[in-house]
Subunit: 459 residues, 2 copies
């Protein structure tokens, strides 16, 4: 029956392109992770908010699931259409709509990628700081409340999205927020849609806050004897210095990156650091950070001074997850994403490593430790039921530890298919009931990315 | 009938203190503004979240309006119980619950005031930056998404609240957010309650992000020939310098402050500036800002170097609104609160002054111009219908101008009784419908601060 309705799609919902070839369906039916793939019935490529409205109305009328799709780089099965239906690929909505350099503001369509955005602003002296490792879309980043290496200085998406246009599940178009620096006008709808993982509506435009490129930027690598020492150093640095970036990469990951990118970093737990600001203050910050690293037994503190070596360093860091996958062709990713109050980080890292060892898994640990956010990442054959169950137990122990310390089950990836089950443990029943009521209010028919996030019981 | 039910209040709702003396009812039935006072039937002082739950359940069962009350410093009639009922005074819930200096986090009850909080943290090297002019409660500041002079650097309440405990209109207690730096777990309930003006629930605890006290702080006053020049200077400073504070105070206000505080500032449009950071970077910033001021015709650029003169300067700035009131005893305040994209600020200031002149009103202009947020403030006899209507027209023209430039009708005060009518003009009908649906979902009986904010039609 769903098939029959989708047969109509060739013509009706506006003039949006509809594709149903095997390869395109497959590409929209899976991600990098262990979650089981499931094909959509069709992939639709809207080119405007009005087309999105038509498609959503069509889907609502016929009770067809609708899954917004950016580039599919999310890490918890977010884009997998577990109930089939339409995968709504936003890649054709990739225009930069309005750029106001003097106001540090840009408004874009959701299919714009972060590299596309930063290229477009290159000559302006401005940039958009949020930088997940993948070249994700601004729409996907907004929908997952993504962050990345720059968050310790500039915050996550929620801190950088000023306003949205969203097509709700009944086809209504809602505008939220605006271009002023701040506002106390009415309920904060913007914040509600940021991080909603396609479950409350389709985002069709995003107003972003931009940053000025700092006068001076210096990058460094600090190599440590063990991961706990690196974690402790990160905590003291964050407390003392207005750090630009502080990223932890463990031995295993460094080795994988070297193999994948042809780099020659020493395969030891390493902090990748960046300092930014005026020349004088950067020099002060660097001196202080170096001292703090040495106090924790850091053996080498190396500068990447020219911009090429610096770019290479961050390129290497960004490709860490991909490098790990490349090491294990055919396997899929499972990654934890807890975030703890910063003073709890060394304990959390210790606990994670201990847990992995106890279960006998070789995993990599890396992350945005300046935020107290780290990933324990594993590659796995998703058909190996035993490993899958054991890894889920590891995952669950790591989350339980983080929650007991006041942390969150997901610092940046979002709930997707994998983390919804921890929501009640994190917030208590009442908050989850309220989240479900919000879902019910905004998507009464349940067409928007069903089974994901807060809607995890609906599988 | 309401009276009869409230007769019960002496004993039932927990053991919370209930007061019904004339003076206390009056104190909870008005604010500083032109909005007509209206008495509550009783003032109740809860001492715990459990007591709040009992009171809210009682109010819900008997359909009694409930208006949370901090110190009543809000500027749009927020706390006036226009339908009577219970004024829920949070002043006895004023404990600091948990202080984690290493995580830059504190958790407080809503009745804690900002000066109480900062005093409690004095020896830690940390402070909480959000600073409305009044010594408001953290609960009231959260409920209005308040900001102040520090917002240009540290953001408004929404940027600094990490989590909440809220008693919903049916007595359920919901916990939102947490202590991690960031999270992508579920819908952002925290952001929904920040700025909800007591219309969605009663906030019973707030987790705040703290800041380290900067190494060096320098304050300065830049005196300008006219207000437009001061506005233009503010725009260039914000674009070029990581400024700490940049406040505009016009002639009239300076004169009022001098009279009220015994200061001797020159009665000319003035920017009050603050620079903060490392010593070297502050020096650089000051030099650049001074140059930018002189480019706009600034006649004097004066430092307040020692900490006493600096404190006096900010004390003077903070008391500007009170000083204006003191000049006109017996009168009440009406203030605009628009916030525009920063490049639109000089035009907006020009338009505001021109509008005031056209209508023949002497008003003061002052504000947090680093955010593009300024207030045109008037004192008025609220019984003078003609003046009231004319001033409402001024207010409306100023808002209409700001909205046309991509701004908001309220940068920091909130909607209260006065600004709800601009919501549709600002966001369009659909967003306002959605806001009303949220109100309906969370407060179906309509007991929570009825008639305020989004609920403005319900008078
Ligand atoms: C190598 C690698 C490194 C990564 N590093 C990071 C990192 O450092 N930090 C981080 O936060 N993440 C990271 N990620 C995860 C991923 O990049 C982010 O989750 C990103 O935000 C996903 O964007 P996307 O365009 O791929 O969205 P998709 O994966 O296509 O979609 C993600 C979710 O958003 C929804 N969505 C997409 N577009 C819209 C729209 N227009 N309206 C409504 N909903 C929409 C989808 O339905 C889905 O639920 C990494 C991933 C990889 C593969
Ligand atoms: C001289 C002066 C200067 C000011 N300067 C500024 C400024 O620079 N920036 C700025 O933003 N504001 C400013 N204000 C306005 C005012 O200080 C702020 O709005 C402040 O946030 C109000 O706090 P309060 O404790 O007085 O709250 P109240 O006025 O008591 O209450 C405000 C609103 O919050 C609700 N509320 C209070 N407590 C709770 C709770 N626990 N749970 C749920 N809802 C609650 C109330 O119902 C009401 O709707 C100024 C006011 C004055 C008088």
């Amino acid at each position: 029956m769903l098939q029959a309705i989708l047969g109509d799609l060739g013509s009706p919902p506006g003039r949006a392109k509809v594709v149903r070839t095997e390869s395109v369906l497959e590409q929209h039916g899976r991600d990098f992770t262990y979650h089981a793939p499931h094909l959509p019935h069709a992939v639709v490529y809207p080119e405007s908010a009005v087309e999105v409205q038509t498609i959503v109305q069509f889907a609502a009328d016929h009770d067809i699931p609708l899954v917004p799709f950016g580039v599919g780089s999310s890490l918890e099965g977010h884009v997998i259409p577990i109930k089939g239906g339409i995968s709504l690929d936003m890649s054709r909505m990739n225009r930069i709509l309005e750029f106001r350099p003097g106001d540090f503001i840009v408004r874009v369509e959701p299919g714009v990628t972060r590299s596309q955005l930063n290229e477009a602003m290159q000559s302006s002296g401005l940039f958009f700081p949020v930088d997940p490792g993948a070249d994700a879309t601004i729409g996907g980043m907004t929908a997952t409340n993504a962050s990345g290496t720059n968050a310790v200085r500039y915050g996550a998406m929620r801190d950088n999205v000023k306003g949205l246009e969203v097509v709700l599940a009944d086809g209504r178009l809602v505008r939220t927020g605006g271009m002023a620096v701040k506002s106390s006008a009415g309920y904060n709808l913007t914040g509600l849609f940021v991080g909603s993982e396609g479950t409350l509506g389709v985002i069709t435009s995003i107003t972003l806050k931009l940053q000025g490129i700092p006068e001076t930027t210096v990058a460094a690598r600090a190599v440590f004897p063990d991961i706990d020492a690196a974690g402790r150093a990160a905590v003291s640095i964050v407390g003392a210095v207005a750090i630009g970036r502080v990223e932890l990469v463990d031995k295993l990951t460094i080795a994988a990156v070297n193999a994948y990118k042809g780099t020659h970093y020493e395969a030891q737990p390493t902090l990748f650091l960046e300092f930014a600001g005026s020349k004088v203050s950067v020099n002060q910050d660097v001196d202080l950070a170096r001292e703090l690293c040495f106090l924790e037994g850091c053996g080498q503190f190396l500068f990447e001074s020219d911009s090429k070596a610096r770019a290479q360093l961050w390129e290497a860091r960004h490709s860490a997850a991909i490098a790990l996958m490349a090491r294990n062709p055919g396997k899929k990713m499972m990654t934890t994403d807890v975030c703890v109050p910063i003073t709890e980080l060394p304990g959390a890292l210790f606990h994670a490593r201990e847990t992995m060892e106890r279960y006998g898994f070789e995993g990599s640990i890396l992350g945005h430790v300046g935020d107290g956010n780290y990933h324990a990442g594993f590659t796995i054959d998703p058909n190996n039921e035993k490993d899958l169950r054991a890894l889920e137990a590891v995952n669950s122990e790591i989350v339980t530890y983080a929650l007991a310390k006041g942390g969150t089950c997901t610092g940046e990836h979002g709930l997707g298919l994998g983390k919804g089950k921890y929501l009640e443990q994190e917030f208590g029943d009442e908050a989850v009931v309220l989240m479900r009521q919000l879902k019910q209010l905004l998507d009464p028919v349940g067409i928007m990315n069903p089974g994901k996030g807060v809607d995890f019981l609906n599988r």
